[in-house]
Symmetry: C2
Subunit: 159 residues, 2 copies
């Protein structure tokens, strides 16, 4: 990694990857997220869609809700969210609604990514908030974790 | 109302409007939603962003989470969600993720609508789920409720 900004968020991506591993171990899709405020992790979560039978239980939504509860405010200005996979429409929308300052993500999501791939929700000038986006931090590691999970699922006859 | 489909969902929009009124009375933005399954309302919620200090606490997200808990499944196939305002990116994304069959909404949202106005997330063929959208049910009543709320907020010096 040569880029200064990418290096700056590397340790937080390691924490997000740790969450992703926990999610995978629990039988859910291995995606993890942390919310950082003043250099400290104030919230950490992994995907819990299957575990909780909740379609909204993506890592980002859970981490945002935790962070807001921690701060006692729905506005997460000053915060950075670090997530292993490019957010979908729901999560990109939630990041905007929470007025988060910065999104750092790992792997791109060619099927549903809503930050750079299919949509550019976090940088859309028509919406009432925009933020800095840093993509590709430990992208290969984040993508490999997902690829291995889905490969194992297929071997077990699940889809 | 002359359209058969619009009439079919009118009673459910009345229930969503009732939720919206409750949200407004509680000091939050008056937006309400219900989830309907086999002709019965299985979940009803209003916006609780301010009340709960939770940026994700839009009526749709709360109603979807309630419905999934009720059914014990993250997949809400067979369900219709009825909401007073055109969903934003977050909520349109959540509706897709929950595999909901049909969205019925009242007023369009010129600033953040992600179903017809700024984006067409619920009918995007690139995503892995699409659904029927019925717009404009009691649109004037839904819009007036919001306009009155914001007018009162301005009169009270809030924004």
């Amino acid at each position: 990694m040569s880029d200064h900004k990418t290096q700056q968020y590397d340790a937080f991506m390691v924490a997000a990857l740790d969450q992703a591993h926990k999610g995978g171990d629990a039988g859910d899709v291995p995606i993890g997220a942390v919310v950082v405020c003043h250099g400290q992790i104030i919230a950490a979560a992994h995907n819990r869609r299957i575990i909780d039978a909740d379609p909204t239980a993506h890592a980002e939504i859970l981490a945002i809700r935790q962070a807001a509860a921690d701060l006692g405010d729905w506005r997460l200005g000053g915060c950075t969210i670090v997530v292993t996979l490019e957010p979908c429409c729901m999560c990109a929308g939630a990041i905007i609604l929470a007025r988060i300052d910065r999104l750092v993500y790992g792997a791109a999501d060619p099927k549903a990514g809503a930050v750079d791939t299919l949509y550019q929700i976090c940088t859309d000038r028509r919406l009432n908030h925009r933020l800095e986006v840093i993509a590709g931090v430990r992208a290969d590691q984040c993508a490999a974790l997902l690829a291995n999970f889905f490969s194992r699922q297929r071997a077990m006859g699940k889809k």
